[in-house]
């Protein structure tokens, strides 16, 4: 019997309340996967960056059920979205055939016609305007094999860095934060640290809704160990904040002052680890626009002004809370920080990431079980496919940079392309690709597996760019129409999730193989196949057919996986031991994994806890070595980062701060979760959360329609008067395609990571 809509809603409601108090609810029988499936295929959940292991039940050629993988890190648990995954494959609006725009309509064409049109448009553009007239915008949801291939085609094949991915919008600041603090990207810790931490510092993350399975582990840890402390720093009383021992509410954008003030307290009260600092840390600031080394004493002088009183004045977070948080952080046996978009989607995103790392480095709360700074990831393969494989306009695979001559030469040799093929200048980043598309500098743009027509900030400008007649937009999508595909010139139907095979890499450096379970609908095809065919035909059109034979000689994803493993050899990512055979059998493997017998590495940069690369890169290391940062003697960096406010603070004309985020039932732009009837019934519209005090001042009652206006546009939303956002802050979700919230958000971006400041936009609110 099917779970009724009423039962599902009751369960969703109960789960939200249970999450808030750390109670595990049993999963309703109807949500438990049926054992009647003919076969179970191992895979990974399609949604967030947690990377929950799943088994996909197949019967009569259809996915009929999903259950959690008990042998994977998630121990068989899934969130409510995961249980309903089968429905995303059978939505009515699946894209089934290539569709070409003819005026205001789309007409069905064959794959051959689609490929001919694309190849003609791209090759003509390259011949007439050069390689920088074409671009690719990829996704943290594509498989590693797909992203690596497109990176090779553009950077190694065509010689343009006009390729970027949507993780630029969600993870770039975290990535640059790790690189600037430790020399290389990606966390050194893992989910297992949650079982060992005694203090959790959660900042800029509503993990109870955005990463529920990870949150449940954390809850469990707290439930079983009453001494475990949870600090949540967030301007909203989120479901996550409701389990906090200390909820630090603050004015959005002022957390740099708070974090420096915590460091101030740690130094002032002598809670720092002098030995750790001496052995493993250098201090840096920016002088004359360049990084410059300074001393510990300089740092102490720098943070002198960041007293708790000063931070309170700036942030409205009570000074006693700041002091208490600093003491809990420093004195705990093991402190784990967790953060997400609240820190990353900021014009000071890298700096605020650095400041979290500073706290760990000051106190030595790092590189041992439970002590780690851990960035949560938004998409299932933002780490593996984009950050690691290098599908960002400044990167080459596995920690290499386009600006670094040695790195370029290494990849040119590895790919077998002439020296000098890779452009040394970083290409445009996500927002700038669309700016250049608007300006006509980029004439052909291919968007795959992502929905920028809903997800870019300051959206109207970029939607206009995508809709222009004098440019050519190709969209590879599993659904049509989406708010992006509706603007395309050509839509290519994509296989989705387990309709194709490939590899995902999640937040804790765990790579997992997804086996193909079923065929895609009608003429939908795996993007990898389409990419390879396009590359060969494009090179033929450019008169480079022979080169294409060498460069793109892949029959399947396994062929390219072997090359990808080799590309990681002798890098800090080394996963040459992660063969397809192993990935098929095992429940994910964490890199580094430098040989076939290596079990994978939970914790990096430490000999004691098993990093096999420490001795390779730093033979004299006794235990901890931040070997990614050879230039600073394998030491990590504490940065002197001053407090700077957001690009657009509230003012008299726009007196509220709008912030956006996810809710439990939905994921990203809702193209998948809004196809699941039960999830859609449980949560079906965007609302504007406003505090009861602000609502009273404006005469707004619950469910009133309100007009929300930023400097970029207006939108009408239903008010939800609730004591969740702090006064002066309003909040909404970005999932709903009928309410394009990003019409309001700010596209100002971080100077280092180029990640836009979605989290802070000044708005005014009126009754509609």
């Amino acid at each position: 019997m099917k779970l009724t809509r009423r039962e599902l809603l009751k369960y969703s409601a109960a789960m939200a309340a249970a999450s808030a108090i750390g109670l595990d609810l049993p999963v309703p029988k109807d949500l438990v996967a049926k054992e009647t499936a003919e076969k179970w295929v191992k895979g990974v959940c399609r949604y967030c960056g947690a990377g929950c292991g799943v088994y996909v039940g197949v019967s009569k050629g259809k996915v009929v059920a999903v259950k959690g993988d008990k042998d994977n890190w998630n121990k068989g648990f899934l969130c409510v979205k995961g249980y309903y995954l089968p429905q995303i494959l059978y939505a009515e609006d699946r894209a089934k055939y290539p569709m070409l725009r003819k005026g205001d309509k789309f007409v069905r064409i064959s794959w051959n016609e689609a490929m001919d049109i694309m190849v003609s448009k791209f090759s003509q553009s390259i011949k007439n305007h050069g390689v920088d007239s074409v671009a690719f915008y990829g996704s943290g949801q594509a498989y590693i094999e797909e992203s690596y291939f497109m990176n090779k085609l553009f950077k190694g094949g065509l010689g343009t860095n006009n390729i970027d991915g949507n993780p630029r919008l969600c993870m770039a600041s975290a990535a640059v934060g790790y690189v600037t603090s430790y020399g290389k990207d990606e966390p050194m810790g893992c989910y297992d640290d949650i079982y060992h931490a005694d203090c959790f510092f959660i900042i800029g993350s509503n993990m109870a809704e955005a990463h529920p399975v990870i949150f449940n582990i954390l809850n469990e840890r707290k439930k079983k160990n009453p001494g475990v402390k949870v600090i949540v720093a967030d301007p909203r009383k989120t479901l996550t904040a409701r389990i906090a021992d200390l909820h630090m509410s603050f004015v959005p954008g002022t957390d740099l002052a708070i974090l420096n003030a915590m460091a101030h307290v740690i130094v002032k009260e002598n809670l720092y680890d002098r030995n750790f600092i001496n052995d493993h840390v250098v201090f840096k600031t920016i002088k004359d626009d360049k990084p410059a080394k300074v001393t510990f004493e300089d740092y102490v002088k720098f943070i002198e002004e960041y007293t708790p009183e000063m931070a309170e004045q700036v942030s409205s977070c009570p000074k006693d809370m700041i002091i208490q948080a600093a003491r809990l952080f420093a004195k705990s046996k093991a402190t784990m920080s967790l953060w997400c978009m609240g820190l990353n989607q900021r014009t000071r995103g890298v700096w605020v990431n650095n400041l979290v790392h500073n706290l760990h480095l000051l106190t030595g709360q790092i590189c041992r079980p439970g002590a780690t700074p851990f960035s949560l990831t938004g998409q299932p393969n933002a780490c593996g496919g984009i950050r690691d494989a290098g599908l960002l306009s400044h990167l080459l695979p596995y920690g290499r940079l386009v600006v670094n001559e040695k790195d370029r030469e290494e990849m040119e040799k590895f790919w077998g392309v002439p020296k000098g093929r890779i452009n040394p200048k970083p290409g445009p980043t996500a927002v700038d690709i669309f700016r250049k598309f608007n300006a006509g500098e980029i004439k052909c743009l291919w968007v795959a597996c992502t929905n920028p027509g809903q997800s870019l900030p300051n959206l109207e400008v970029y939607r206009k760019a995508m809709a222009k007649d004098d440019t050519f937009l190709v969209v590879s999508e599993a659904y049509h129409p989406t708010r992006t595909s509706e603007l395309a010139d050509l839509v290519l139907p994509s296989a989705l999730w387990v309709e194709k095979d490939g590899t995902y890499g999640q937040s804790e450096r765990r790579y997992q193989y997804l086996e193909k379970a079923v065929n895609p609908p009608a003429e939908a095809r795996p993007d990898f196949e389409v990419f390879v065919e396009f590359a060969k035909k494009l090179f033929k059109a450019l008169g480079r057919e022979e080169e294409a034979k060498k460069l793109f000689n892949y029959k399947n994803t396994e062929d390219i996986w072997k090359e990808i493993m080799e590309a990681s050899r002798n890098t800090a990512y080394d996963f040459t031991g992660m063969t397809r055979e192993r990935l098929k059998k095992e429940h994910g493997i964490q890199w580094p994994c430098p040989d076939i017998n290596h079990p994978g590495t939970q914790r990096r940069y430490t000999v004691k806890y098993g990093d096999p690369l420490v001795k390779k890169f730093d033979p004299n290391a006794k235990d901890i070595s931040f070997y990614g940062n050879k230039a600073d003697g394998n030491k990590a960096v504490i940065w002197l980062r001053p407090y700077k406010g957001p690009a657009e603070p509230a003012d008299k004309d726009y007196p509220f701060i709008l912030t956006t985020g996810r809710q439990l039932e939905h994921w990203h732009t809702g193209t998948m979760t809004l196809k699941v009837a039960e999830l859609k019934r449980a949560a079906f519209k965007a609302q504007l959360e406003i505090s009861p005090r602000d609502a009273a001042k404006l005469g707004i009652k619950n469910k009133d329609l309100v007009k929300v206006t930023s400097r970029r546009g207006s939108i009408i939303l239903e008010a939800k008067v609730v004591d969740v956002p702090r006064d002066g802050v309003v909040y909404t979700n970005f999932h709903y395609p009928d309410k394009l919230i990003n019409m309001l958000t700010n596209d100002a971006y971080d100077a280092l990571s180029k990640q836009p400041e979605y989290k802070i936009s000044a708005v005014k609110i009126e009754k509609a």
Binding site: L9, S12, A17, I21, G22, L23
Partner: protein, 74 residues
């Protein structure tokens, strides 16, 4: 039909009494208990009935607070 989940917080060691006191409420389901808090879900046709039920629960002896967490519409 409105559906709302609540966290009902009560005085220590009063869990059984509270559950008994909640039993007579129509359209109320208890989902679980932890740390002197019970998760309940209530259903009603109108918001005012939900509010009334919350007020009635709040008035029960030994109940310290009733916090609505999630309200949905069928």
């Amino acid at each position: 039909m409105k559906i709302a989940s609540l966290i009902v917080e009560f005085d220590e060691n009063r869990g059984e009494e509270i559950k008994q006191a909640l039993h007579p409420f129509k359209n109320l389901t208890i989902y679980g208990e932890k740390d002197n808090k019970i998760v309940v879900v209530i259903e009603s046709e109108e918001i005012k009935d939900l509010t009334q039920t919350i007020d009635q629960i709040s008035a029960i002896t030994f109940i310290k607070s009733v916090t609505p967490v999630y309200i949905s519409e069928l």
